[in-house]
C-alpha cells in the first residue's frame, strides 16, 4: 500500500496510537528536559528580580495554506507569539504549543511543520515546555491550527505601551508593509496568482532589543491582521489623537502594489507578520529610524507620519497631491474587487 501516511482520529484518542504520535513525532521535535518530564504542566524554576514583570500572551494560528512563500504555520506560530511578547519589551523565555490537527493531515507535513516550529523556537532561544495535541474529524478543522502561549520577562525600567502615546509623536514602520497578506492571498488556489511575493514573517525580538534603549520610544506594535490600518486606528484611539500619514512615505514593494492594483485592494489593510509600528517622541524619531535601518530586519524602515491632536477622524492620509482624506477602518474580510 503506497498510501500517504495520514493522521487518524485514533491519534487523538489518548491511547496507544496517541502515545506513539507523541513519542515518535512530537516530543523528539521539541526535546527539552522540562517537556521530557511528561507531566500535565511544565514546572519552571523562574526567578523574577525586583521591578521585573512577567509577560504572558497567546495567539492561535489558522493560516491557509499551511506552507507559504517565506514561512509556514509552524514558524509563524512562534514568531507571532514572540512578537507579541517583544512589543511589550519582554524577553521571551517559554512557549506552550497546542496543536489541533484535522484527521487526514499527512504525517510528513505535520512533522515538517513541527520541525519548523521547533527550529524557530530554538533559533530564538526559547523552549516549548508544555503542549497539547488534539485530532478532530475531517471537515472539523482546516488541516492544522496551532495555538502558542508565551512567557517572557519585562526587565525593570522598561515602560512602553499605549499609555505613553501622545500627540506629536512620530510614527515609524520597520519595513515595507503588506507582504504577508499578499503572499497568503496569492497562495490561495482560487485566485491562481503567482509572483515575487514572500511573507515578511519574522521574529522581531532582535530588532526590538536594539530599539528599547531609545528613551523616546513610547509604544511598539507588530502589524498583523488588518495591517498598518488596524494598528493606526488602535493607537489613535488609545492616544485620543489622530494619526496623520504621508501616503507616499509608506513603503510598499512593487509586487504587493501590483497585487493590490489587480484585486482592487489597499496595501494598508494587508497583514504583516514581521513588521512593527514604532511610536516615538519626535526628537528621538531620527535616531530610532537609524537604529532600525542599521539592523538587517529594519532596512526598509521609514517615518510615515505623526500623531496630532484629535480631529474628526482617527486616521488621515495625506495623499500624493497634498490632499488629506480619511482612512476608514478595515470593515471586514478582504474581498477582491472587479469594479
Amino acid at each position: 500500500m503506497a498510501r500517504t501516511e495520514r493522521i487518524s482520529l485514533a491519534q487523538g484518542s489518548g491511547g496507544e496510537p496517541m502515545q506513539r504520535l507523541l513519542r515518535e513525532l512530537i516530543w523528539p521535535v521539541f526535546a527539552n528536559p522540562i517537556l521530557a518530564r511528561q507531566e500535565d504542566q511544565a514546572r519552571l524554576a523562574f526567578e523574577l528580580q525586583p521591578g521585573e514583570q512577567l509577560a504572558f500572551t497567546t495567539d492561535s494560528f489558522v493560516v491557509t495554506p499551511l506552507q507559504f512563500p517565506g514561512g509556514d504555520i509552524g514558524s509563524l506560530a512562534v514568531q507571532g507569539t514572540l512578537n507579541d511578547l517583544a512589543v511589550g519589551g519582554a524577553v521571551a523565555r517559554y512557549l506552550s504549543c497546542g496543536l489541533i490537527i484535522e484527521e487526514g493531515l499527512p504525517v510528513a507535513l505535520l512533522r515538517d511543520l513541527c520541525l519548523s516550529l521547533a527550529k524557530t523556537a530554538r533559533d530564538a532561544g526559547v523552549q516549548v515546555v508544555t503542549g497539547d495535541t488534539k485530532v478532530v474529524p475531517r471537515g472539523a478543522a482546516d488541516g492544522l491550527f496551532i495555538n502558542t502561549s508565551g512567557l517572557g520577562i519585562i526587565p525593570a525600567g522598561i515602560n512602553i505601551g499605549t499609555h505613553r502615546l501622545a500627540a506629536g509623536d512620530s510614527l515609524v514602520v520597520s519595513g515595507p508593509i503588506g507582504e504577508h497578506g499578499a503572499a497568503i492571498l496569492a497562495s490561495r488556489q482560487e485566485l491562481a496568482i503567482t509572483g515575487d511575493l514572500r511573507s515578511d514573517c519574522a521574529n522581531l525580538s532582535p530588532l526590538i532589543q536594539t530599539l528599547l534603549p531609545n528613551a523616546g520610544l513610547h509604544a511598539l506594535r507588530d502589524m498583523t491582521r488588518g495591517g498598518l490600518n488596524a494598528v493606526l486606528h488602535e493607537f489613535a484611539e488609545a492616544a485620543g489623537a489622530t494619526a496623520v500619514i504621508d501616503e507616499s512615505a509608506v513603503p510598499v514593494r512593487p509586487a504587493v502594489q501590483g497585487l493590490c492594483e489587480l484585486l482592487g485592494l489597499d496595501p494598508l489593510q494587508l497583514a504583516c507578520e514581521g513588521r512593527l509600528l514604532a511610536v516615538v517622541a519626535p526628537d528621538h524619531a531620527e535616531h530610532l529610524l537609524q537604529c532600525l535601518q542599521a539592523h538587517p530586519m529594519g532596512q526598509g524602515a521609514a517615518i510615515i507620519g505623526r500623531l496630532t491632536p484629535k480631529r474628526n477622524v482617527p486616521v488621515i492620509l495625506n495623499g500624493l497631491y497634498g490632499i488629506e482624506r480619511a482612512l476608514p477602518p478595515v470593515s471586514g474580510e478582504l474581498l477582491p474587487r472587479i469594479c
Binding site: N312, V313, G319, Y321, P328, E333, L335, R337, I338, C339
Partner: protein, 384 residues
C-alpha cells in the same frame, strides 16, 4: 507599474490643475458651479482616493454617476443568488464586490455565514474551474457587470458549452450603460454640463452608447482613463468644449479606447447574449432593453431554471422588485447632482457602508459610500 505610475505623476497633476483653473476662470460666470458627471464608479473611486475634487476650482464640480454595476444590482437578484447558494449541492461563485450587497434576506456574506456555499472569484474562468474540479457540485456564477465585463462571462459560457459541462450555469445580471444614461438625461431638471465617459466600457463598445448625449442633449462627453492624469486631462477637454460651446465625443483614453471599440470583445457577447426586454436597476427601476439575457441556444446555462419559481426562460429576474428599500432614500437626487450625499437624511445614520439602504452606499464605488469613507465616518463629525 507601467501605464499607471506615469499617469499619477504629481508634476503632471499640478500642471493640469493649473491649466484647469485657468480654463475654468475663462468660463462664462454663472450662479451655480459647472457640473461634470463621471459616469463610472471607477472614476468616482479615483476622484476620492486622490482628492481630485478638492483640486478643482470652486466653479467646477464632479457629480457621481450611475456606472457601478454593484450599486445598481437590485435586491431581487441578490435574493436569487442567496436562494441558489443555499441549495445543498450548489456552489455560488461571485465577484467580491457583490458579497456585501443586501437583498431582502441579507447579503451573500450573511448567507455564507448561515451555511450557504459561496466562493469569491476573480474571473469567470475561476468559476468554470470550480465546476471542472467538482463535477458533483452545481456551480452557479453570479454574472454582473456592464459591457466591459460581459465578454469574460460570454467566453466562460462558450467554454462550458464546448466542454459539455453540465454543472456550470450563470445567474445573469449583465446590464448596458446607455439606458440608465438616457433615463437620467430625460430628467428636465438635470443640471449636468458635461460627461466624463467610462473608458473601460468604451474600449469594448466604442462611442456608440454615448452618441445620443451630444446629439440629443447637446452636452460634451470625454471618454477617460482612470488615473489622475487621465481624469484631469478629460476635465480640461470638457472645459474646452464648454468654453467653445461645443458638444461632441472626444477620447482622452486613446491608448486603449477607439471610436469603434473592440469588435473582438463584442463577438462572444453577441453570440451568447441578446438584449432582454426589461432589466431592473436599484435606484432607477425597470428600464427597457437595458440588460442582456442568454440566447435560446444557451438556455442550458441559465441558473434561473434551478430556482423554485423559475421565470420564463430568457427573461431577466424581475420578481418581487423593490427599486428602493427606503422611501426616504435620496439616491435619485444625488445621482442627478441635486444633492450631495451628506444631505440625504439617511446618510451616515441609517445608511452606512455596513448597513446600506440606498444604491449609492452599497459598493465602495458608490457616491455615498465614497463620500462616507473618505470624508466622514458618521454624522457625529458633521456634514462636511
Amino acid at each position: 507599474m507601467k501605464y499607471v505610475d506615469e499617469f499619477r505623476n504629481p508634476e503632471a497633476v499640478a500642471r493640469l490643475v493649473e491649466a484647469i483653473r485657468q480654463r475654468a476662470a475663462a468660463l462664462p460666470p454663472r450662479q451655480h458651479p459647472w457640473q461634470l458627471m463621471e459616469i463610472c464608479g471607477g472614476h468616482t473611486h479615483t476622484i476620492f482616493r486622490f482628492g481630485l475634487d478638492q483640486l478643482l476650482p470652486d466653479n467646477i464640480e464632479f457629480i457621481h454617476g450611475p456606472g457601478c454595476p454593484v450599486c445598481v444590482l437590485p435586491q431581487s437578484v441578490i435574493d436569487q443568488a442567496v436562494a441558489l447558494a443555499q441549495r445543498p449541492d450548489t456552489l455560488l461563485c461571485s465577484y467580491g464586490d457583490a458579497m456585501r450587497v443586501p437583498g431582502h434576506h441579507g447579503s451573500l456574506l450573511q448567507a455564507r455565514a448561515d451555511g450557504a456555499r459561496v466562493q469569491v472569484i476573480y474571473s469567470p474562468r475561476d468559476a468554470l474551474d470550480m465546476a471542472r474540479r467538482h463535477p458533483d457540485t452545481q456551480v452557479v456564477f453570479l454574472a454582473i457587470g456592464f459591457e466591459t465585463t460581459a465578454p469574460a462571462t460570454a467566453l466562460a459560457i462558450r467554454a462550458a458549452a464546448r466542454e459539455g459541462l453540465t454543472n456550470f450555469c450563470v445567474l445573469c445580471h449583465l446590464v448596458l450603460i446607455e439606458p440608465p444614461l438616457r433615463a437620467l438625461l430625460a430628467d428636465p431638471d438635470l443640471r449636468i454640463d458635461g460627461f466624463v465617459g467610462p473608458g473601460h466600457v468604451s474600449l469594448v463598445t466604442g462611442n456608440a452608447p454615448f452618441e445620443f448625449i451630444p446629439a440629443e442633449h447637446h452636452k460634451p462627453v470625454v471618454i477617460s482613463g482612470f488615473e489622475p492624469v487621465d481624469l484631469l486631462q478629460s476635465v480640461l477637454l470638457l472645459l474646452e468644449q464648454l468654453q467653445q460651446g461645443q458638444a461632441r465625443i472626444e477620447i482622452q483614453y486613446r491608448r486603449v479606447a477607439t471610436t469603434q471599440g473592440n469588435p473582438g470583445a463584442r463577438a462572444p457577447v453577441d453570440d451568447v447574449f441578446e438584449p432582454a426586454p426589461l432589466a431592473e436597476w436599484r435606484g432607477l427601476g425597470k428600464l427597457p432593453r437595458s440588460g442582456l439575457q442568454l440566447r435560446p441556444g444557451y438556455q442550458a446555462f441559465d441558473a434561473t431554471h434551478l430556482l423554485p419559481d423559475s421565470p420564463a426562460p430568457g427573461t431577466l429576474p424581475t420578481a418581487d422588485s423593490t427599486t428602493e428599500a427606503d422611501p426616504r432614500c435620496r439616491c435619485a437626487a444625488v445621482l442627478s447632482g441635486k444633492l450631495k450625499p451628506g444631505q440625504c437624511p439617511l446618510f451616515g445614520r441609517e445608511c452606512t457602508p455596513d448597513t446600506p439602504l440606498g444604491a449609492l452606499m452599497v459598493s465602495s464605488e458608490g457616491a455615498c459610500a465614497a463620500w462616507y469613507q473618505y470624508r466622514h465616518q458618521g454624522p457625529a463629525h458633521g456634514a462636511h
